[in-house]
Subunit: 318 residues, 2 copies
Protein backbone atom coordinates (compact mmCIF):
# COMPACT_ATOMS: atom_id res chain seq x y z
CA UNK A 1 0.00 0.00 0.00
CA UNK A 2 2.70 2.46 0.92
CA UNK A 3 5.57 0.84 -0.91
CA UNK A 4 7.53 2.41 -3.71
CA UNK A 5 9.69 1.00 -6.51
CA UNK A 6 12.87 2.82 -5.55
CA UNK A 7 13.93 0.88 -2.47
CA UNK A 8 17.60 -0.16 -2.58
CA UNK A 9 16.57 -3.81 -2.45
CA UNK A 10 13.04 -4.96 -3.11
CA UNK A 11 11.29 -8.01 -1.68
CA UNK A 12 12.18 -10.21 -4.64
CA UNK A 13 15.88 -9.41 -4.41
CA UNK A 14 15.93 -9.91 -0.65
CA UNK A 15 14.27 -13.29 -0.95
CA UNK A 16 16.61 -14.32 -3.74
CA UNK A 17 19.70 -13.20 -1.84
CA UNK A 18 18.98 -14.52 1.62
CA UNK A 19 16.34 -17.19 1.35
CA UNK A 20 17.05 -19.20 -1.79
CA UNK A 21 18.98 -21.97 -0.14
CA UNK A 22 19.73 -24.26 -3.04
CA UNK A 23 21.75 -26.84 -1.13
CA UNK A 24 18.61 -27.47 0.84
CA UNK A 25 16.14 -27.47 -2.01
CA UNK A 26 18.27 -29.45 -4.41
CA UNK A 27 19.54 -31.76 -1.71
CA UNK A 28 17.82 -34.30 0.41
CA UNK A 29 14.27 -33.42 -0.42
CA UNK A 30 12.72 -34.34 -3.75
CA UNK A 31 9.27 -33.56 -2.35
CA UNK A 32 9.88 -29.91 -3.27
CA UNK A 33 8.68 -29.70 -6.87
CA UNK A 34 9.00 -25.90 -6.85
CA UNK A 35 10.21 -23.71 -3.99
CA UNK A 36 10.09 -19.93 -3.58
CA UNK A 37 9.51 -17.62 -6.56
CA UNK A 38 6.00 -18.31 -7.82
CA UNK A 39 2.61 -17.52 -6.26
CA UNK A 40 2.94 -20.66 -4.13
CA UNK A 41 5.27 -23.62 -3.68
CA UNK A 42 4.42 -26.98 -5.28
CA UNK A 43 5.01 -29.99 -3.04
CA UNK A 44 4.53 -33.74 -3.20
CA UNK A 45 3.25 -35.17 0.08
CA UNK A 46 4.69 -38.58 1.00
CA UNK A 47 2.35 -41.47 0.17
CA UNK A 48 0.60 -43.21 3.06
CA UNK A 49 1.34 -40.37 5.44
CA UNK A 50 -0.66 -37.73 7.22
CA UNK A 51 0.63 -34.19 7.46
CA UNK A 52 0.97 -32.19 10.64
CA UNK A 53 0.97 -28.40 10.45
CA UNK A 54 1.82 -25.72 12.96
CA UNK A 55 2.36 -21.96 12.85
CA UNK A 56 3.94 -19.64 15.43
CA UNK A 57 4.80 -15.98 15.42
CA UNK A 58 7.76 -14.61 17.40
CA UNK A 59 7.91 -10.89 18.12
CA UNK A 60 10.94 -8.86 19.10
CA UNK A 61 10.76 -7.83 22.75
CA UNK A 62 8.15 -10.44 23.52
CA UNK A 63 9.44 -13.79 22.27
CA UNK A 64 13.07 -12.82 21.84
CA UNK A 65 15.08 -9.87 23.19
CA UNK A 66 15.81 -6.90 20.93
CA UNK A 67 19.54 -7.41 21.48
CA UNK A 68 19.66 -11.09 20.58
CA UNK A 69 22.02 -11.91 17.69
CA UNK A 70 20.20 -12.24 14.37
CA UNK A 71 21.53 -15.77 13.87
CA UNK A 72 20.06 -16.82 17.22
CA UNK A 73 16.74 -15.19 16.35
CA UNK A 74 16.64 -17.22 13.13
CA UNK A 75 17.57 -20.42 14.94
CA UNK A 76 15.16 -19.91 17.81
CA UNK A 77 12.12 -18.94 15.74
CA UNK A 78 12.43 -22.07 13.64
CA UNK A 79 13.21 -24.24 16.69
CA UNK A 80 9.91 -23.28 18.33
CA UNK A 81 8.00 -24.57 15.32
CA UNK A 82 10.09 -27.72 14.92
CA UNK A 83 9.41 -28.53 18.55
CA UNK A 84 5.70 -28.68 17.73
CA UNK A 85 6.47 -31.17 14.95
CA UNK A 86 8.58 -33.19 17.42
CA UNK A 87 5.66 -33.29 19.85
CA UNK A 88 3.51 -34.84 17.11
CA UNK A 89 6.12 -37.49 16.26
CA UNK A 90 6.46 -35.94 12.81
CA UNK A 91 9.34 -35.85 10.37
CA UNK A 92 10.00 -32.28 9.18
CA UNK A 93 9.25 -31.56 5.52
CA UNK A 94 8.70 -27.91 4.62
CA UNK A 95 8.33 -24.47 6.14
CA UNK A 96 7.21 -21.01 5.06
CA UNK A 97 8.52 -17.79 6.55
CA UNK A 98 6.77 -14.43 6.85
CA UNK A 99 9.35 -11.92 7.95
CA UNK A 100 8.38 -8.42 9.02
CA UNK A 101 11.34 -6.03 9.17
CA UNK A 102 11.54 -2.40 10.24
CA UNK A 103 14.24 -1.75 7.62
CA UNK A 104 16.52 -3.55 5.20
CA UNK A 105 19.58 -4.42 7.26
CA UNK A 106 21.65 -6.82 5.21
CA UNK A 107 23.94 -7.81 8.06
CA UNK A 108 20.93 -8.73 10.14
CA UNK A 109 19.33 -10.64 7.24
CA UNK A 110 22.53 -12.56 6.55
CA UNK A 111 22.82 -13.55 10.23
CA UNK A 112 19.16 -14.44 10.54
CA UNK A 113 19.15 -16.68 7.49
CA UNK A 114 22.46 -18.31 8.52
CA UNK A 115 21.10 -19.27 11.95
CA UNK A 116 17.78 -20.40 10.53
CA UNK A 117 19.32 -22.58 7.81
CA UNK A 118 21.81 -24.04 10.28
CA UNK A 119 18.88 -25.61 12.12
CA UNK A 120 16.83 -26.23 8.95
CA UNK A 121 19.65 -28.24 7.40
CA UNK A 122 20.24 -30.21 10.60
CA UNK A 123 16.53 -31.00 10.82
CA UNK A 124 16.12 -31.71 7.11
CA UNK A 125 13.38 -29.16 6.54
CA UNK A 126 13.18 -27.02 3.37
CA UNK A 127 12.13 -23.38 3.17
CA UNK A 128 9.57 -23.31 0.36
CA UNK A 129 7.96 -19.87 0.49
CA UNK A 130 6.74 -16.88 2.41
CA UNK A 131 7.05 -13.13 2.19
CA UNK A 132 8.86 -10.07 3.53
CA UNK A 133 6.98 -6.99 4.70
CA UNK A 134 7.99 -3.76 6.39
CA UNK A 135 6.94 -3.25 10.01
CA UNK A 136 7.92 -4.06 13.60
CA UNK A 137 10.27 -7.06 13.67
CA UNK A 138 8.24 -10.29 13.65
CA UNK A 139 8.89 -13.81 12.43
CA UNK A 140 5.93 -16.01 11.52
CA UNK A 141 6.80 -19.56 10.54
CA UNK A 142 4.48 -22.29 9.35
CA UNK A 143 6.02 -25.77 9.46
CA UNK A 144 4.73 -29.03 8.00
CA UNK A 145 5.81 -32.55 8.90
CA UNK A 146 4.75 -36.08 8.02
CA UNK A 147 3.70 -39.11 10.05
CA UNK A 148 2.62 -42.55 8.86
CA UNK A 149 -1.19 -42.44 8.87
CA UNK A 150 -2.61 -42.90 12.35
CA UNK A 151 0.69 -42.62 14.22
CA UNK A 152 0.71 -38.91 15.11
CA UNK A 153 1.21 -38.26 18.82
CA UNK A 154 -1.54 -36.21 20.45
CA UNK A 155 -2.21 -34.67 23.82
CA UNK A 156 -5.31 -36.71 24.34
CA UNK A 157 -4.29 -40.34 24.80
CA UNK A 158 -2.99 -40.50 28.40
CA UNK A 159 -4.47 -43.17 30.69
CA UNK A 160 -4.58 -43.56 34.44
CA UNK A 161 -1.55 -45.44 35.78
CA UNK A 162 0.77 -44.56 32.91
CA UNK A 163 4.22 -43.12 33.55
CA UNK A 164 4.81 -39.43 32.88
CA UNK A 165 8.19 -38.71 31.28
CA UNK A 166 10.33 -35.73 30.40
CA UNK A 167 12.75 -35.76 27.48
CA UNK A 168 15.27 -33.56 29.30
CA UNK A 169 15.75 -30.98 31.99
CA UNK A 170 13.33 -28.09 32.37
CA UNK A 171 13.75 -24.62 33.81
CA UNK A 172 16.72 -23.68 31.65
CA UNK A 173 14.67 -21.67 29.16
CA UNK A 174 13.14 -19.29 31.69
CA UNK A 175 16.32 -19.16 33.75
CA UNK A 176 18.24 -18.23 30.62
CA UNK A 177 15.76 -15.41 29.96
CA UNK A 178 16.18 -14.14 33.53
CA UNK A 179 19.96 -14.20 33.20
CA UNK A 180 19.74 -12.45 29.83
CA UNK A 181 17.62 -9.71 31.38
CA UNK A 182 20.35 -9.30 34.01
CA UNK A 183 22.95 -8.75 31.29
CA UNK A 184 24.44 -12.24 31.15
CA UNK A 185 25.31 -13.42 27.61
CA UNK A 186 27.14 -16.73 28.14
CA UNK A 187 26.65 -20.04 29.88
CA UNK A 188 24.51 -23.17 29.57
CA UNK A 189 21.17 -21.56 30.50
CA UNK A 190 21.77 -18.75 28.01
CA UNK A 191 22.51 -21.37 25.35
CA UNK A 192 19.21 -23.12 26.10
CA UNK A 193 17.43 -19.81 25.79
CA UNK A 194 19.16 -18.70 22.58
CA UNK A 195 19.02 -22.01 20.77
CA UNK A 196 16.46 -24.44 22.11
CA UNK A 197 16.92 -27.96 20.73
CA UNK A 198 13.71 -29.44 19.33
CA UNK A 199 13.58 -33.15 20.20
CA UNK A 200 12.78 -34.42 16.73
CA UNK A 201 14.51 -37.81 17.04
CA UNK A 202 12.86 -38.47 20.36
CA UNK A 203 9.47 -37.60 18.86
CA UNK A 204 9.97 -40.10 16.05
CA UNK A 205 11.04 -42.81 18.51
CA UNK A 206 7.88 -42.27 20.58
CA UNK A 207 5.49 -43.30 17.80
CA UNK A 208 3.53 -46.24 19.13
CA UNK A 209 5.17 -45.99 22.58
CA UNK A 210 3.80 -42.71 23.93
CA UNK A 211 0.09 -42.48 24.56
CA UNK A 212 0.22 -38.66 24.68
CA UNK A 213 2.87 -36.05 24.00
CA UNK A 214 3.40 -32.29 24.19
CA UNK A 215 6.40 -29.97 24.10
CA UNK A 216 7.15 -27.78 27.10
CA UNK A 217 6.47 -24.21 26.06
CA UNK A 218 4.27 -23.07 28.95
CA UNK A 219 6.00 -25.01 31.76
CA UNK A 220 5.72 -28.60 33.00
CA UNK A 221 2.62 -28.00 35.12
CA UNK A 222 0.70 -26.05 32.49
CA UNK A 223 1.61 -28.43 29.68
CA UNK A 224 0.96 -31.52 31.79
CA UNK A 225 -2.46 -30.04 32.51
CA UNK A 226 -3.08 -29.66 28.78
CA UNK A 227 -2.44 -33.39 28.43
CA UNK A 228 -4.59 -34.33 31.42
CA UNK A 229 -7.49 -32.13 30.27
CA UNK A 230 -7.30 -33.38 26.69
CA UNK A 231 -7.20 -36.97 28.00
CA UNK A 232 -10.57 -36.64 29.70
CA UNK A 233 -9.90 -34.79 32.96
CA UNK A 234 -7.31 -37.05 34.54
CA UNK A 235 -4.84 -36.07 37.28
CA UNK A 236 -1.24 -36.84 38.13
CA UNK A 237 1.18 -37.31 40.97
CA UNK A 238 4.76 -36.13 40.38
CA UNK A 239 7.80 -37.24 42.35
CA UNK A 240 9.96 -34.29 43.35
CA UNK A 241 13.02 -36.52 43.69
CA UNK A 242 12.63 -37.64 40.09
CA UNK A 243 12.49 -34.19 38.49
CA UNK A 244 15.63 -33.96 36.33
CA UNK A 245 17.91 -31.16 37.44
CA UNK A 246 21.05 -29.95 35.74
CA UNK A 247 22.79 -28.34 38.68
CA UNK A 248 25.24 -26.59 36.36
CA UNK A 249 22.35 -24.80 34.64
CA UNK A 250 20.41 -23.76 37.73
CA UNK A 251 23.49 -23.44 39.95
CA UNK A 252 22.81 -19.89 41.08
CA UNK A 253 19.24 -20.61 42.20
CA UNK A 254 18.11 -21.73 45.65
CA UNK A 255 16.04 -24.86 46.07
CA UNK A 256 12.67 -23.11 45.88
CA UNK A 257 13.62 -21.19 42.76
CA UNK A 258 14.99 -24.34 41.11
CA UNK A 259 11.70 -26.15 41.73
CA UNK A 260 9.67 -23.21 40.45
CA UNK A 261 11.73 -23.04 37.26
CA UNK A 262 11.56 -26.82 36.74
CA UNK A 263 7.79 -26.93 37.15
CA UNK A 264 6.61 -23.56 35.91
CA UNK A 265 9.36 -22.23 33.64
CA UNK A 266 8.45 -22.03 29.98
CA UNK A 267 10.27 -22.21 26.67
CA UNK A 268 12.15 -25.42 27.41
CA UNK A 269 11.02 -27.26 24.28
CA UNK A 270 11.69 -30.70 25.67
CA UNK A 271 8.97 -33.31 25.26
CA UNK A 272 6.62 -34.37 28.02
CA UNK A 273 4.88 -37.66 27.31
CA UNK A 274 3.01 -40.53 28.88
CA UNK A 275 4.36 -44.02 28.22
CA UNK A 276 2.14 -46.94 27.35
CA UNK A 277 2.39 -49.81 29.82
CA UNK A 278 5.29 -52.08 29.01
CA UNK A 279 7.13 -49.53 26.85
CA UNK A 280 10.75 -48.97 27.84
CA UNK A 281 11.81 -45.49 28.92
CA UNK A 282 13.80 -43.99 26.03
CA UNK A 283 17.45 -43.19 26.69
CA UNK A 284 17.96 -39.79 28.24
CA UNK A 285 14.37 -39.52 29.43
CA UNK A 286 13.12 -39.31 33.00
CA UNK A 287 10.00 -40.79 34.61
CA UNK A 288 8.73 -37.96 36.80
CA UNK A 289 5.40 -39.38 37.96
CA UNK A 290 2.21 -41.18 37.05
CA UNK A 291 -1.20 -40.37 35.66
CA UNK A 292 -4.04 -40.65 38.24
CA UNK A 293 -7.77 -40.95 37.91
CA UNK A 294 -8.11 -38.19 40.53
CA UNK A 295 -8.12 -34.74 38.87
CA UNK A 296 -5.46 -32.21 39.83
CA UNK A 297 -1.69 -32.52 40.08
CA UNK A 298 0.08 -33.50 43.31
CA UNK A 299 3.74 -33.41 44.19
CA UNK A 300 5.26 -36.14 46.34
CA UNK A 301 7.93 -34.03 48.00
CA UNK A 302 11.46 -34.88 49.10
CA UNK A 303 10.16 -34.74 52.67
CA UNK A 304 7.68 -37.50 51.88
CA UNK A 305 4.58 -35.28 51.83
CA UNK A 306 2.03 -35.26 49.03
CA UNK A 307 0.70 -31.77 48.33
CA UNK A 308 -1.52 -30.33 45.57
CA UNK A 309 0.04 -28.02 42.98
CA UNK A 310 -1.61 -25.09 41.24
CA UNK A 311 -2.52 -25.89 37.67
CA UNK A 312 -1.25 -22.68 36.16
CA UNK A 313 2.12 -22.22 34.62
CA UNK A 314 2.42 -19.68 31.88
CA UNK A 315 -0.85 -19.27 30.10
CA UNK A 316 0.04 -16.80 27.48
CA UNK A 317 -1.70 -14.42 25.32
CA UNK A 318 1.55 -12.81 24.32
CA UNK B 1 8.15 -13.84 27.69
CA UNK B 2 6.19 -10.99 29.20
CA UNK B 3 2.83 -12.68 29.49
CA UNK B 4 1.04 -13.32 32.73
CA UNK B 5 -1.68 -15.76 33.78
CA UNK B 6 -4.17 -13.10 34.84
CA UNK B 7 -5.33 -11.80 31.48
CA UNK B 8 -9.12 -11.61 31.19
CA UNK B 9 -9.05 -14.06 28.30
CA UNK B 10 -6.00 -16.15 27.49
CA UNK B 11 -4.91 -17.40 24.09
CA UNK B 12 -6.63 -20.78 24.51
CA UNK B 13 -9.98 -19.20 25.36
CA UNK B 14 -9.75 -16.71 22.51
CA UNK B 15 -9.00 -19.44 20.01
CA UNK B 16 -11.79 -21.59 21.36
CA UNK B 17 -14.29 -18.76 21.29
CA UNK B 18 -13.55 -17.17 17.94
CA UNK B 19 -11.68 -19.68 15.84
CA UNK B 20 -13.18 -23.10 16.50
CA UNK B 21 -15.54 -23.13 13.59
CA UNK B 22 -17.14 -26.53 13.87
CA UNK B 23 -19.49 -26.21 10.94
CA UNK B 24 -16.41 -25.89 8.77
CA UNK B 25 -14.33 -28.61 10.36
CA UNK B 26 -17.11 -31.13 10.73
CA UNK B 27 -18.61 -30.24 7.39
CA UNK B 28 -17.33 -30.64 3.92
CA UNK B 29 -13.79 -31.59 4.72
CA UNK B 30 -12.88 -35.03 6.01
CA UNK B 31 -9.22 -34.33 5.30
CA UNK B 32 -9.04 -32.59 8.68
CA UNK B 33 -8.23 -35.43 11.08
CA UNK B 34 -7.60 -32.98 13.92
CA UNK B 35 -7.94 -29.20 13.82
CA UNK B 36 -6.86 -26.55 16.35
CA UNK B 37 -6.08 -27.48 19.95
CA UNK B 38 -2.99 -29.69 19.88
CA UNK B 39 0.63 -28.87 19.07
CA UNK B 40 -0.22 -29.16 15.38
CA UNK B 41 -3.12 -30.09 13.13
CA UNK B 42 -3.29 -33.58 11.58
CA UNK B 43 -4.34 -33.65 7.93
CA UNK B 44 -4.79 -36.21 5.19
CA UNK B 45 -3.53 -34.97 1.83
CA UNK B 46 -5.64 -36.05 -1.15
CA UNK B 47 -4.16 -39.03 -3.03
CA UNK B 48 -2.59 -38.38 -6.40
CA UNK B 49 -2.35 -34.65 -5.78
CA UNK B 50 0.41 -32.18 -5.20
CA UNK B 51 0.03 -29.48 -2.59
CA UNK B 52 0.55 -25.79 -3.15
CA UNK B 53 1.44 -23.58 -0.21
CA UNK B 54 1.54 -19.83 0.22
CA UNK B 55 1.91 -17.44 3.15
CA UNK B 56 1.24 -13.70 3.35
CA UNK B 57 1.28 -11.22 6.18
CA UNK B 58 -1.01 -8.18 6.22
CA UNK B 59 -0.18 -5.27 8.53
CA UNK B 60 -2.50 -2.56 9.73
CA UNK B 61 -1.68 0.75 8.08
CA UNK B 62 0.30 -0.94 5.33
CA UNK B 63 -1.90 -3.63 3.80
CA UNK B 64 -5.21 -2.48 5.21
CA UNK B 65 -6.29 0.85 6.75
CA UNK B 66 -6.53 1.18 10.53
CA UNK B 67 -10.18 2.18 10.22
CA UNK B 68 -11.28 -0.76 8.08
CA UNK B 69 -14.09 -2.84 9.62
CA UNK B 70 -12.77 -5.97 11.36
CA UNK B 71 -14.98 -8.20 9.22
CA UNK B 72 -13.44 -6.72 6.06
CA UNK B 73 -9.93 -7.15 7.48
CA UNK B 74 -10.67 -10.84 8.09
CA UNK B 75 -12.15 -11.25 4.62
CA UNK B 76 -9.39 -9.38 2.84
CA UNK B 77 -6.45 -11.06 4.57
CA UNK B 78 -7.74 -14.50 3.68
CA UNK B 79 -8.67 -13.39 0.14
CA UNK B 80 -5.08 -12.36 -0.59
CA UNK B 81 -3.89 -15.86 0.21
CA UNK B 82 -6.71 -17.62 -1.64
CA UNK B 83 -5.85 -15.58 -4.71
CA UNK B 84 -2.40 -17.19 -4.69
CA UNK B 85 -4.05 -20.62 -4.62
CA UNK B 86 -6.29 -19.53 -7.51
CA UNK B 87 -3.23 -18.48 -9.51
CA UNK B 88 -1.83 -22.00 -9.10
CA UNK B 89 -5.08 -23.67 -10.22
CA UNK B 90 -5.42 -25.20 -6.76
CA UNK B 91 -8.44 -26.26 -4.77
CA UNK B 92 -8.34 -24.76 -1.25
CA UNK B 93 -7.85 -27.23 1.60
CA UNK B 94 -6.54 -25.75 4.86
CA UNK B 95 -5.20 -22.56 6.37
CA UNK B 96 -3.39 -21.48 9.52
CA UNK B 97 -3.71 -18.04 11.08
CA UNK B 98 -1.19 -16.15 13.18
CA UNK B 99 -2.96 -13.15 14.63
CA UNK B 100 -1.05 -10.41 16.42
CA UNK B 101 -3.30 -8.09 18.42
CA UNK B 102 -2.51 -4.98 20.43
CA UNK B 103 -5.23 -5.87 22.94
CA UNK B 104 -8.13 -8.24 23.46
CA UNK B 105 -11.07 -6.53 21.79
CA UNK B 106 -13.86 -9.05 21.60
CA UNK B 107 -16.00 -6.99 19.23
CA UNK B 108 -13.09 -6.76 16.84
CA UNK B 109 -12.33 -10.49 17.15
CA UNK B 110 -15.96 -11.42 16.54
CA UNK B 111 -16.07 -9.23 13.41
CA UNK B 112 -12.73 -10.44 12.14
CA UNK B 113 -13.59 -14.11 12.49
CA UNK B 114 -17.05 -13.55 10.97
CA UNK B 115 -15.60 -11.93 7.84
CA UNK B 116 -12.84 -14.48 7.56
CA UNK B 117 -15.14 -17.50 7.90
CA UNK B 118 -17.62 -15.96 5.46
CA UNK B 119 -14.98 -16.29 2.76
CA UNK B 120 -13.50 -19.52 4.16
CA UNK B 121 -16.87 -21.24 4.01
CA UNK B 122 -17.57 -19.96 0.49
CA UNK B 123 -14.15 -21.18 -0.66
CA UNK B 124 -14.34 -24.51 1.21
CA UNK B 125 -11.14 -23.98 3.18
CA UNK B 126 -10.79 -25.05 6.83
CA UNK B 127 -8.92 -23.19 9.57
CA UNK B 128 -6.75 -25.85 11.17
CA UNK B 129 -4.34 -24.00 13.45
CA UNK B 130 -2.22 -20.99 14.29
CA UNK B 131 -1.66 -18.74 17.26
CA UNK B 132 -2.50 -15.40 18.84
CA UNK B 133 0.18 -13.07 20.17
CA UNK B 134 0.17 -9.56 21.57
CA UNK B 135 1.70 -6.81 19.44
CA UNK B 136 0.96 -4.40 16.58
CA UNK B 137 -2.03 -5.64 14.57
CA UNK B 138 -0.85 -8.15 11.96
CA UNK B 139 -2.47 -11.10 10.20
CA UNK B 140 -0.25 -13.85 8.86
CA UNK B 141 -2.05 -16.59 6.95
CA UNK B 142 -0.60 -19.74 5.45
CA UNK B 143 -2.90 -21.46 2.96
CA UNK B 144 -2.61 -24.88 1.35
CA UNK B 145 -4.42 -26.16 -1.73
CA UNK B 146 -4.33 -29.26 -3.92
CA UNK B 147 -3.82 -29.88 -7.62
CA UNK B 148 -3.73 -33.17 -9.50
CA UNK B 149 -0.03 -34.01 -9.86
CA UNK B 150 1.61 -32.04 -12.66
CA UNK B 151 -1.30 -29.68 -13.31
CA UNK B 152 -0.34 -26.70 -11.13
CA UNK B 153 -0.24 -23.40 -13.03
CA UNK B 154 3.07 -21.58 -12.88
CA UNK B 155 4.46 -18.28 -14.03
CA UNK B 156 7.01 -19.89 -16.23
CA UNK B 157 5.19 -21.56 -19.12
CA UNK B 158 4.29 -18.68 -21.46
CA UNK B 159 5.33 -18.99 -25.13
CA UNK B 160 5.74 -16.46 -27.88
CA UNK B 161 2.52 -15.91 -29.84
CA UNK B 162 0.18 -16.94 -27.03
CA UNK B 163 -2.73 -14.73 -26.00
CA UNK B 164 -2.49 -12.79 -22.75
CA UNK B 165 -5.74 -12.72 -20.79
CA UNK B 166 -7.19 -11.02 -17.73
CA UNK B 167 -9.84 -12.64 -15.56
CA UNK B 168 -11.54 -9.31 -14.84
CA UNK B 169 -11.09 -5.58 -14.63
CA UNK B 170 -8.02 -4.09 -13.01
CA UNK B 171 -7.42 -0.76 -11.34
CA UNK B 172 -10.28 -1.06 -8.89
CA UNK B 173 -8.09 -2.15 -5.98
CA UNK B 174 -5.78 0.85 -6.04
CA UNK B 175 -8.58 3.23 -6.96
CA UNK B 176 -10.55 1.93 -3.98
CA UNK B 177 -7.57 2.61 -1.73
CA UNK B 178 -7.27 6.16 -3.08
CA UNK B 179 -10.97 6.77 -2.49
CA UNK B 180 -10.69 5.30 1.01
CA UNK B 181 -7.84 7.66 1.79
CA UNK B 182 -10.09 10.52 0.66
CA UNK B 183 -12.74 9.45 3.15
CA UNK B 184 -15.04 7.54 0.82
CA UNK B 185 -16.55 4.38 2.37
CA UNK B 186 -19.04 3.17 -0.25
CA UNK B 187 -19.18 2.28 -3.91
CA UNK B 188 -17.92 -0.40 -6.28
CA UNK B 189 -14.21 0.49 -6.07
CA UNK B 190 -14.37 0.52 -2.27
CA UNK B 191 -16.02 -2.90 -2.38
CA UNK B 192 -13.18 -4.25 -4.54
CA UNK B 193 -10.69 -2.85 -2.07
CA UNK B 194 -12.45 -4.12 1.05
CA UNK B 195 -13.32 -7.57 -0.24
CA UNK B 196 -11.27 -8.71 -3.21
CA UNK B 197 -12.71 -11.80 -4.87
CA UNK B 198 -10.12 -14.54 -5.41
CA UNK B 199 -10.81 -16.23 -8.75
CA UNK B 200 -10.71 -19.80 -7.50
CA UNK B 201 -13.16 -21.27 -10.03
CA UNK B 202 -11.36 -19.60 -12.90
CA UNK B 203 -8.05 -20.99 -11.63
CA UNK B 204 -9.45 -24.52 -11.59
CA UNK B 205 -10.86 -24.12 -15.11
CA UNK B 206 -7.46 -22.99 -16.42
CA UNK B 207 -5.71 -26.28 -15.62
CA UNK B 208 -4.38 -27.59 -18.91
CA UNK B 209 -5.53 -24.46 -20.80
CA UNK B 210 -3.28 -21.74 -19.41
CA UNK B 211 0.46 -22.03 -20.07
CA UNK B 212 1.25 -19.53 -17.29
CA UNK B 213 -0.77 -17.78 -14.61
CA UNK B 214 -0.33 -15.16 -11.88
CA UNK B 215 -2.67 -13.07 -9.76
CA UNK B 216 -2.55 -9.29 -10.01
CA UNK B 217 -1.14 -8.00 -6.76
CA UNK B 218 1.57 -5.67 -8.06
CA UNK B 219 -0.27 -4.38 -11.14
CA UNK B 220 -0.74 -5.74 -14.67
CA UNK B 221 2.63 -4.53 -15.97
CA UNK B 222 4.67 -5.74 -13.01
CA UNK B 223 2.91 -9.10 -12.82
CA UNK B 224 3.03 -9.60 -16.58
CA UNK B 225 6.75 -8.97 -16.34
CA UNK B 226 7.04 -11.65 -13.67
CA UNK B 227 5.49 -14.09 -16.14
CA UNK B 228 7.66 -12.95 -19.04
CA UNK B 229 10.86 -13.14 -16.98
CA UNK B 230 9.98 -16.53 -15.53
CA UNK B 231 9.18 -17.77 -19.05
CA UNK B 232 12.68 -17.10 -20.30
CA UNK B 233 12.83 -13.37 -20.99
CA UNK B 234 9.96 -12.98 -23.43
CA UNK B 235 8.10 -9.74 -24.23
CA UNK B 236 4.53 -8.72 -24.95
CA UNK B 237 2.38 -6.33 -26.89
CA UNK B 238 -0.83 -5.17 -25.23
CA UNK B 239 -3.82 -3.67 -27.01
CA UNK B 240 -5.08 -0.58 -25.23
CA UNK B 241 -8.54 -0.96 -26.78
CA UNK B 242 -8.82 -4.44 -25.27
CA UNK B 243 -8.04 -3.53 -21.67
CA UNK B 244 -11.22 -4.24 -19.72
CA UNK B 245 -12.64 -1.12 -18.12
CA UNK B 246 -15.57 -0.88 -15.75
CA UNK B 247 -16.54 2.74 -16.28
CA UNK B 248 -18.72 2.68 -13.17
CA UNK B 249 -15.69 1.82 -11.05
CA UNK B 250 -13.21 4.28 -12.53
CA UNK B 251 -15.87 6.89 -13.38
CA UNK B 252 -14.24 9.78 -11.57
CA UNK B 253 -10.85 9.33 -13.26
CA UNK B 254 -9.67 10.93 -16.49
CA UNK B 255 -8.37 8.80 -19.34
CA UNK B 256 -4.71 8.93 -18.27
CA UNK B 257 -5.51 8.03 -14.69
CA UNK B 258 -7.78 5.17 -15.80
CA UNK B 259 -4.99 3.72 -17.92
CA UNK B 260 -2.45 4.12 -15.13
CA UNK B 261 -4.75 2.34 -12.68
CA UNK B 262 -5.53 -0.44 -15.14
CA UNK B 263 -1.88 -1.12 -15.93
CA UNK B 264 -0.07 -0.22 -12.72
CA UNK B 265 -2.63 -0.43 -9.94
CA UNK B 266 -2.09 -3.25 -7.49
CA UNK B 267 -4.24 -5.40 -5.23
CA UNK B 268 -6.75 -6.39 -7.88
CA UNK B 269 -6.47 -10.15 -7.33
CA UNK B 270 -7.78 -11.08 -10.74
CA UNK B 271 -5.85 -13.67 -12.71
CA UNK B 272 -3.54 -12.83 -15.59
CA UNK B 273 -2.74 -15.83 -17.76
CA UNK B 274 -1.44 -16.90 -21.13
CA UNK B 275 -3.66 -19.23 -23.12
CA UNK B 276 -2.32 -22.25 -24.98
CA UNK B 277 -2.97 -22.13 -28.72
CA UNK B 278 -6.42 -23.46 -29.54
CA UNK B 279 -7.81 -23.04 -26.01
CA UNK B 280 -11.05 -21.09 -25.83
CA UNK B 281 -11.13 -17.86 -23.86
CA UNK B 282 -12.99 -18.60 -20.61
CA UNK B 283 -16.25 -16.73 -20.04
CA UNK B 284 -15.76 -13.32 -18.48
CA UNK B 285 -12.10 -13.13 -19.47
CA UNK B 286 -10.47 -10.65 -21.80
CA UNK B 287 -7.65 -11.11 -24.31
CA UNK B 288 -5.48 -8.02 -23.80
CA UNK B 289 -2.49 -8.84 -26.00
CA UNK B 290 0.04 -11.41 -27.09
CA UNK B 291 3.38 -12.75 -25.95
CA UNK B 292 6.33 -11.68 -28.17
CA UNK B 293 9.83 -13.03 -28.60
CA UNK B 294 11.09 -9.42 -28.32
CA UNK B 295 11.76 -8.51 -24.65
CA UNK B 296 9.90 -5.57 -23.11
CA UNK B 297 6.23 -4.68 -23.09
CA UNK B 298 4.63 -2.47 -25.74
CA UNK B 299 1.20 -0.89 -25.84
CA UNK B 300 -0.68 -0.62 -29.11
CA UNK B 301 -2.59 2.57 -28.35
CA UNK B 302 -6.09 3.70 -29.29
CA UNK B 303 -4.41 6.13 -31.69
CA UNK B 304 -2.75 3.24 -33.50
CA UNK B 305 0.76 3.85 -32.17
CA UNK B 306 2.92 1.17 -30.61
CA UNK B 307 5.00 2.50 -27.67
CA UNK B 308 7.18 0.81 -25.06
CA UNK B 309 5.98 0.70 -21.45
CA UNK B 310 8.08 0.83 -18.33
CA UNK B 311 8.36 -2.56 -16.69
CA UNK B 312 7.78 -1.36 -13.18
CA UNK B 313 4.48 -1.44 -11.44
CA UNK B 314 4.56 -1.78 -7.71
CA UNK B 315 7.65 -3.63 -6.63
CA UNK B 316 7.10 -3.87 -2.97
CA UNK B 317 9.09 -4.42 0.05
CA UNK B 318 6.25 -3.31 2.26
Amino acid sequence: MTSSPDKPLDEFSLIRRYFHHDAQLAGQDDSVVMGPGDDAAILTPPAGHQLVMTQDTSLEGRHFPADMAASDVGYRCLAVNLSDLAAMGAEPLWFLLSLTLPEVNEDWLAGFSRGMFELADAAGIALVGGDITRGPLAVSIQATGAVPAGLALRRSGAKSGERICLGGVTGAGLHGLHLWQQGCRHGPAIDHFRRPQPQLSLGLSLRGLASACIDISDGVLADLNHVLEASGGLGATLDEAALPLDAAILCDCDHEEQRRLQLQGGDDYVLLFTLRDGAAVPAGCHVIGRVDAQPGVRLYSLAGECRPLSATGWRHFG
